[in-house]
Amino acid sequence: MSTHQANELYEPHRVSGGLLDPRQLLAAFPDAIRKLDPRVMVRHPVMFVVEVGSLLTTYSAIRHSSAFAWVITVWLWLTVVFANLAEAVAEGRGKAQAETLRRTRTEAVARRVVGDWRPGAVRPTEEEVPAAELRLGDHVVVEAGELIPGDGDVVEGAASVDESAITGESAPVIRESGGDRSAVTGGTRVLSDRIVVKITSKPGETFIDRMIALVEGAARQKTPNEIALNILLAALTIVFLLAVVTLQPMAAYAGAEQTIVVLVALLVALIPTTIGALLSAIGIAGMDRLVQRNVLAMSGRAVEAAGDVSTLLLDKTGTITFGNRQAAEFTPVGGTDVNLLADAAQLSSLADETPEGRSIVVLAKEKYGLRARAQHEIGHAQWIEFTAQTRMSGADLSEDGGSRQIRKGAAGSVVGWVEENGGQAGPEVAAVVEGISSAGGTPLVVAVHQSGEPARVLGVIHLKDVVKHGIRERFEDLRTMGIRTVMITGDNPLTARAIADEAGVDDFLAEATPEDKMALIRQEQGGGKLVAMTGDGTNDAPALAQADVGVAMNTGTSAAKEAGNMVDLDSNPTKLIEIVEIGKQLLITRGALTTFSIANDVAKYFAIIPAMFASVYPGLRHLNIMALHSPRSAITSAIVFNALIIVGLIPLALRGVRYKPSSASDLLRRNLTVYGAGGLVLPFVGIKLIDLVVQFIPGLH
């Protein structure tokens, strides 16, 4: 992972989706109209009731035509259309993405190996078949420039593959047989070399197919929490339906029989239309926010589970520390000036292309102001590259009247080199090396051999795992959210503890085997906790399947991708934290809008009830605390507000409410204030404002 990404991730941020473009609303309009089909509407019980109500008022308005009846009728239909619009806009974003994906899915031709393929088979017989005819277990040959015809694992060879079609990342990646980087995805292109791929998916069920289905929402099912909320909303709708239906005989007794239009208006105002209209859009947008972060959730259930996670298993490498060890400190020995050591360390590392080598150059530059010189800038230099045999890198510099040889490398190798060249390492070096090793770091010794002098050790470079900047604060946030972090590492317990302390994780699992990981997940789940983890290897697959939220890296094996319930196309394990936040944000948005919707009722009662009955019971005028102009304007205002608030909240539904990691009490206090108290007050203001306009419309005053 690049440093750039790391910075972006750890800055204080707000989980958010893209902004809503008004053009999206327009584009989604035809879909919104199409969704008026009662067979579609019936899946949203609250809005279905509104649609039936709209039909009733339409009938009534036709029979007893009046400006008031038509205005109410139009706004009731608009209420339904706005609700559909919310869903259509949310789906529209996914559709655009699916379109892009579909363009990349070309009808490839596969070179299938005839008969059984055996490892090492030279030039097996091939036949050309359409990709759609590939079956599980087939072997296909793919060479440079060809598209991989289906999902599978590389069983022979290695190749660089362009996966930009699915990840959007243009840099090619290496895929090779064996190990954890063997999975290839259908529709991606081999750029070099030749590989043999064993097909692991049926046609029509490839990764890209599933991706298209997911982002399009075709595979969308209501999630458990969505179902529960729908039940509650349906119950509230029935209660209000009863309240309104039984109101008519009561009103008749009072001598104030109401028209169908008014009764339907009261019903629509009372039932929780705001949340009913936005509920499915919230769910789709939640999935969409993940897709925008290049994470594919295989089900909405997984996104919800992410919000509930109470234990995060985080791989040390790549999540908590950078992938490679980095130079952290130069320790001079024998009275050497530290600047001299830094200079020598940098020179000796210029030819070292490993990440460790580069980190030495960077440290010398950042801490000691030594500009990283390019190799060609230094004349008369012979560069010694790092090899596994010498375990050293360095440079031989010919300078005025002499030569200078600098070496840097593993302690044993460099000390040996010093002794070969007449020098002595001394006990001080051994002590420093020992100290670094015992702290979990890697010591690299730097030595110099000036012509005419015995070689001597200048000092030691301390390579260590560098904990990512800002991760400690992130774990702090997680703790306030009630989430425990456990670091998983193959390091020995000593090293693991040092890093765990530095990063501030709650616990760690050292020398972890896949079995240990599995046992840990089971143990946590046994205590009723939900566990999230990331993984990429085949041996991670059982744990990924066991975890409640298992995020597979796209670079991983297909077994891992199959086992997890999410796939991160960027293969960035840190994203797990973001996934949890998105899950929480999704649930909060649902709860906030439900609260808002229910709290809205209070104002609507005060608008509509006096309007209905003040003519027979003048005392009820006291309930008209908003001082609305007339019964008709009051009812119209309530209905207009009810419809407009849906449109007004579409951006919030798509973006999700503001979420800052904090404790449950703080979150509740904040959201209850904003959406509960706000939901009580806002409609009073809104209805009054609309009334100020509506009262001038002829036929409504």
Binding site: P224, I227, A228, L229, I231, L232, A234, A235, L236, I238, V239, L242, A243, V244, T246, L247, Q248, P249, M250, A252, Y253, A254, E304, G307, D308, S310, R479, T480, G482, I483, G528, K529, G583, L587, I588, R590, G591, A592, T595, I598, A599, D601, V602, Y605, I609, M612, F613, Y617, G619, L620, L623, Y659, S663, A664, L667, L668, R669, N671, L672, G676
Partner: protein, 553 residues
């Protein structure tokens, strides 16, 4: 002492007494419901009815026991009433008419104690003692038993057992209700209540007129009438009758008794789930509504604007002078908030808004503090709804007391909150539709409507108090209200027990910083809001046509 101060001190003494009994009574009830030991008498009863006191039931088996027990109770009581003229101590009264007998049987079995008869002119002493009073004990115990099953659902994990109905029923009756009733009956007799088996004495008054002075085993029945939140009076005048409620002291004691179990049960809940703070949060919500209701009702009775009432200084019509405004208002709000339904004043004569408070109290679903057991289980169901909505706002799928609230739990909670409003509104709507049934209404205009609304609200919520003014002795009213009482009692029990079963099966979720705290003031406020908006406001249109139309000028 001026009446305002006297009223205030009465209420204060009540709060203090309730607070003092909260812990010991709550813990004793918890012990009763959880103890592993059976008493010898109890073992005898189990042998007699053929149940194994050590086995436990699934929620559906528990429910079947509740329903079967209720059905048998209704049939038994119905037969008793129909045959009373053949039994001892009938005082010469004829058999109770079928419709009235059905209504009364349903009423007493459901802890409603709606009375479409006058005790002193229809019921013999044996029916009162062995028929009606027995149900006063048992129906109160059934409520607590169902509550116990729900609490076990919260408390237990990975089991399908929610307790044994028969054990709960017998223990609550034998260990709690009976001993308390015996002791307190003596106190009541000492305070001036009658307790005899005399028939009515016919006397000639000083002015020469004839008067019938009834006797009866009143004190012994009075305790359980209040303690079990029953409310069925021995006499027609209920607690306004001088033999049933002779003086301010007995009046205060009656109010205390009808509140004490329901206000102590949250402690039982806290003790049984192992977290007293949860109980305190619930009792805080209950207290909030009770204090607000009592304050409002008293205020409206003092502040009436009619000419005569202004002259009298308050709305004294229909109130007993010996209790005064404060004693009557406190009684009225306590009896309507607890599903008791005993009255010491004519609720029909409350001021329109005061009567509105009384009917709104019942509309809240009898949960603050509500009937014995039924009040707390109702409040817990609403807590489930509140947690569901609030829990989402903290970014987790909601959980209450370590139990996840998923589709199943919300389904049962939703059905629960749907039932009573449906019964009230449909009942009222139907009654208002039929011209012939409307004839039963005494007053015209909104007050007449309030009478009907009050009757259905009272019966569906198993309160049992009446607004009077409505003649409910016809077959239609007796039958309809009998059905309403049974639906309003048994359907919610079905959903509560189903909820209990579904909770008990779950694996608990551990509490973390990310868990919604359900014991803080914030949650108390949230739950109160849900009670008010989700339950109370449903009736707003109906209230507007009755008490509000009449009371706002």
């Amino acid at each position: 002492m001026n009446p305002t101060l006297a009223g205030f001190l009465q209420a204060l003494a009540l709060v203090a007494a309730l607070a003092l009994s909260h812990r010991p009574l709550g813990d004793y009830l918890a012990h009763t419901l959880t103890s592993a030991k059976h008493l010898r008498v109890e073992r005898g009863v189990y042998r007699l009815i053929g149940v194994n006191g050590d086995s436990e039931q699934t929620w559906s088996s528990y429910l079947r026991s509740v329903l079967a027990f209720s059905a048998v109770s209704v049939l038994f009581l119905y037969a008793f009433l129909r045959l009373q003229n053949h039994l001892w101590l009938s005082l010469g009264f004829p058999a109770v008419k079928p419709a009235t007998a059905w209504n009364t049987a349903a009423s007493f079995v459901t802890n409603t104690n709606w009375q479409s008869y006058s005790g002193e002119s229809a019921m013999g002493h044996l029916v009162q003692m062995a028929g009606l009073a027995v149900q006063n004990f048992l129906s109160a115990a059934v409520g607590i038993a169902v509550l116990a099953a729900l609490i076990r659902g919260f408390r237990r994990n990975l089991t399908d057992r929610v307790g044994n109905f028969w054990v709960d029923l017998v223990r609550v009756t034998w260990r709690v209700l009976l001993p308390a009733s015996v002791v307190l009956a003596i106190v009541f007799v000492a305070a001036g209540m009658v307790e005899n088996l005399h028939a009515a004495a016919q006397v000639t008054t000083l002015s020469g007129g004839g008067q019938s002075i009834p006797g009866g085993p009143v004190a012994s029945q009075e305790v359980i009438k209040e303690l079990g939140t029953n409310g069925g009076g021995f006499y027609n005048a209920n607690s306004a009758h001088p033999f049933e409620n002779p003086n301010p002291l007995t009046n205060w004691l009656e109010v205390y008794l009808l509140l004490v179990i329901s206000f102590s049960l949250p402690r039982t809940f806290g003790t049984m789930v192992g977290d007293h703070r949860q109980g305190y949060a619930i009792v805080a919500v209950m207290a909030l509504f009770w204090v607000a209701s009592a304050a409002l009702l008293t205020y409206f009775e003092w502040q009436h604007s009619g000419t005569a009432l202004q002259a009298a200084g308050a709305a004294t019509e229909g109130k007993e002078v010996r209790f005064g405004i404060a004693g009557s208002a406190l009684f009225a709000s306590s009896t309507t908030l607890t599903s008791t339904g005993a009255v010491n004043a004519a609720h029909d004569s409350l001021t329109p808004l005061g009567g509105g408070v009384a009917v709104f109290d019942m509309m809240l679903g009898e949960i603050a503090p509500g009937g014995t057991g039924s009040g707390l289980y109702g409040m817990l169901v609403l807590a489930v709804v509140a947690v569901f909505v609030a829990g989402l706002m903290v970014g987790r799928t909601p959980e209450y007391l370590g139990k996840k609230l998923g589709g199943r739990e919300i389904k049962f909670a939703s059905l629960y909150i749907l039932t009573t409003p449906a019964v009230v509104l449909i009942g009222t709507g139907v009654a208002m539709t039929f011209r012939s049934e409307r004839a039963a209404i005494l007053n015209s205009g909104p007050h007449g409507f309030s009478e009907v609304l009050y009757a259905f609200t009272s019966c569906a919520n198993n309160n049992g108090s009446a607004f009077a003014g409505l003649t409910v002795t016809s077959t239609w009213w007796n039958t309809a209200l009998g059905l309403v009482m049974l639906f309003g009692r048994l359907l919610p029990m079905v959903f509560v027990l189903a909820l209990a079963g579904s909770l008990a099966q779950q694996h608990p979720v551990p509490v973390t910083a990310g868990t919604l705290p359900t014991h803080r003031p914030l949650f108390v406020g949230m739950l109160s809001g849900v009670v008010l908006i989700v339950v109370g406001l449903t009736y707003f249109p109906a209230l507007a046509l009755g008490p509000l139309a009449e009371g706002l000028h």
